[in-house]
Amino acid sequence: MSPTVFFVAIISAMLINNVVLLRFLGVCPFLGVSKRSETALGMGGAVTFVMVVGSVLTYLIYYYVLEPFDITYISTIAFILVIASLVQLVEMFIKKVSKKLYKALGIYLPLIVTNCAILGVAETNVREGYAEEFGIMSGLGVAAASAFGAALGFTLVIFAFSSIRERLDAAEVPNAWKGIPISLIVAGIMALAFLGLEGIV
């Protein structure tokens, strides 16, 4: 198993199957939160952390608890509750440990519980069948890598979009198109651009 597998997993999750633009996960924060660049980066940081840790946890639970007992049908409920617990723990931890970190990331954590990107990536990792392809332990690495790539892709897109948004606010737009409608059109054009990256890996 060569390191290129991880690299390919990261690039493919980040650019070729971008979570927001091509898999439609986490569209709410994409449209709502990303007005300022710092906000976008803070959100991206929080999502990256929770997405990677959450994916690893749910992967382990799926293959070491649900699969051996043959109870994979409760995976939805197990995944969402484990991710939600994780978010609560992380929030509590940084509340206690660092005021600075809480300022930078903590305020985005409640937004993450219902962020479909986190649960979506966890579900995808299991459905992609990395464990069957690479074995359970190596599959875990690939799953973590693709979660990391997905989070990077999310950050990249909301950061880029926040910069576009600044220009968009200053532009003259017909009244009916102001706000979300024109943002969606911009997102559509961004999605077209990302379609062009198909096939680079």
């Binding site: 939160v33 906000t39 007992f69 617990s85 609560q88 809480y102 300022k103 219902t114």
Partner: protein, 58 residues
Amino acid sequence: MVPAIAVTTFVVILFFATYILNKRTPEPLEAAEIVDRETCTACKNYNCRYKIEETRGD
């Protein structure tokens, strides 16, 4: 069936426990002010209410 019930019960209790623990941990001072209402427009109602109700009590 038994393991399914056991696992479900476990995760439900885990979630309730962490939620209550987190809720009882006070926020660092000053931090409450930086919850910028404007950045809270994502999923208009729910997400922010979740945050606001914790800081303001509904």
